[in-house]
């Protein structure tokens, strides 16, 4: 039997595979490069999909905020409350421009009141959030160097984007100041 007769054409013009019983024989579809190529393509797509889905599950960091729904629902009210309670402070967070991963860096927070006099909150805390991975988040207290000036030595474990936030607590009220920074490679 020649190659030409591998697939015969029936009356309804549909190609038919070789008759049953000749699966591994010279007439098998598994010998057709077109068929194998097509199967190969499908297998590649399925394998890539499976890999991506597995990776997505394995590396899933979880939610950054647990009560995201409640927060979203209350966003307007909390914004209004915060604006109303804002004491009119001027705040500044100084993160050196050349901050690099795995390198201790001094960050400083400055706060003055509405007339420019230094404010001395009860407690000042530095928070660093990794937007894509809450397991890398950390926080530490800032030390008062002078009235209105607070310092902390921080070390970022990973390079890339970090959301930093300084929370100043005073009389039960918490005033926050945030800054998104890019951390260079070590």
């Amino acid at each position: 039997m020649s190659d030409v007769t591998t697939a015969s054409v029936s009356a309804d013009h549909r190609p038919q595979l070789a008759p049953a019983g000749q699966g591994g024989g010279p007439d098998s579809a598994w010998r057709s490069p077109w068929f194998l190529g097509w199967i190969g393509l499908v297998v590649v797509v399925v394998v890539v999909n499976a890999t991506m889905i597995t990776l997505a599950f394995v590396t899933n960091p979880g939610l950054v905020v647990d009560d995201y729904y409640e927060r979203g629902r209350d966003v307007e009210r909390s914004l209004t409350t915060r604006r109303a309670e804002a004491p009119g402070w001027t705040m500044s967070l100084d993160t050196p421009a050349d901050v690099a991963a795995k390198t201790p860096t001094m960050v400083r927070f400055y706060v003055v009141d509405s007339v420019g006099q230094p404010v001395r909150p009860d407690q000042v805390t530095y928070y660093a959030y990794r937007p894509s991975d809450p397991s890398a988040d950390f926080s530490l207290p800032m030390v008062e160097e002078a009235p209105g000036r607070y310092a902390a030595e921080v070390t970022f474990a990973l390079s890339g984007l970090w959301d930093t936030l300084v929370a100043a607590q005073t009389g039960g009220q918490e005033i926050a100041f945030d800054q998104r920074i890019g951390v260079a490679d070590h």
Partner: protein, 308 residues
């Protein structure tokens, strides 16, 4: 294991399994034996040359309980040699810096580059806490990266500021001026800062109350300009630009400064505006800067953008 050896004269170990599987007594390959002896020799030689074994306390030589090795190598010694090499490279620059003025350093591009790299560390250690990591200033602390200077931005003035420090002074006017006058002067400064001309009444009051003594006739902080271009100031702010010495600025800030002054003893709400002296004039060099370090910092600060 069989009791008798069915393969005599074969150099096997006498261990048999299933009648014909046996363990032969072949020597290891030659290359393997060579490698073994070489590594043993290396181990012994290393032990002779370098520190290796801990020794019992009563056998210990001076400086620690371990064998020292005939080369006397230690990691700290290697580190120190490395540091000496760095110091040698630095020494040629440092010698030059010691014999030059900050202006001369600035004229030499190679030396300037070295000075800036060297001063960056000093700036981080001594200046950044107040003036910001990039000299960008912070609420309550002046910006160094612009051309607005309280005490002058020439190299000599910067050296003077770092060496001797600065202490701002402004009288508290809470018991001197009436409420209406304070209000008028506050509005006057806001109008100047916003780019306005200032009202006639404002200028009149500004002159009458002696504000010109520090802020200058034109309220720009300049008392006089000498023929050689040197500007005479007492550190009072330029009121005619939009930069506020005490952020956030504006009416309330201005009013507070006028009422309570700057660095006034006994006035509780007075502004605090003190820069410590970093030179050795304070008598102690501990934690202070050497003249060459101050020189470097002056070049650095001058190069931040606003040097005059």
């Amino acid at each position: 294991m069989a009791d008798h050896n069915p393969f005599p004269g074969e150099n096997n170990t006498g261990h048999f399994w299933d009648d014909n599987i046996r363990e032969l007594n072949n020597p290891p390959p030659k290359w393997w034996m060579i490698a073994l002896w070489v590594s043993i020799a290396w181990f012994v030689l290393y032990g002779i040359l370098y520190p290796m074994y801990p020794v019992l306390p009563w056998q210990s030589q001076e400086g620690g309980g371990f064998t020292k090795g005939v080369l006397g190598w230690t990691s700290i010694k290697e580190f120190e040699q490395g540091m000496e090499q760095v110091a040698e490279v630095r020494a040629q620059y440092e010698t030059q810096i010691a014999s030059m003025t900050p202006e001369q350093i600035l004229d030499d591009p190679g030396l300037t580059q070295y000075t800036l790299a060297s001063a960056k560390v000093l700036f981080g250690d001594y200046c950044a806490a107040c003036h910001g990591s990039g000299g960008q200033g912070n609420p309550g602390y002046p910006v160094l990266a612009d051309d607005d200077w309280l005490y002058g931005g020439s190299m000599a003035k910067i050296v003077e500021s770092v060496t001797n420090g600065r202490k701002g002074a402004m009288t508290a006017h809470q018991n001197i001026l009436s409420e209406a006058e304070v209000d008028q002067l506050s509005q006057f400064t806001v109008s100047l800062a916003d780019g306005g001309e200032g009202s006639e009444a404002g200028w009149k009051l500004f002159n009458e109350k002696g504000c010109t003594a520090c802020h200058g006739q034109q309220a720009n902080g300049i008392l006089a300009e000498l023929p050689d271009g040197t500007i005479v100031t007492v550190g009072a702010a330029n009121l005619t630009d939009s930069i506020w010495r005490f952020e956030p600025g504006g009416y309330e800030s201005a009013k507070h400064t006028i009422l309570y002054g700057v660095n006034q003893p006994g006035v509780e709400q007075t502004r605090d505006a003190v820069m410590p002296a970093f030179g050795d004039s304070a008598g102690s060099l501990e934690g202070k800067l050497e003249p060459d370090q101050i020189k470097k910092l002056a070049v650095y600060v001058h190069s931040l953008g606003g040097g005059q």
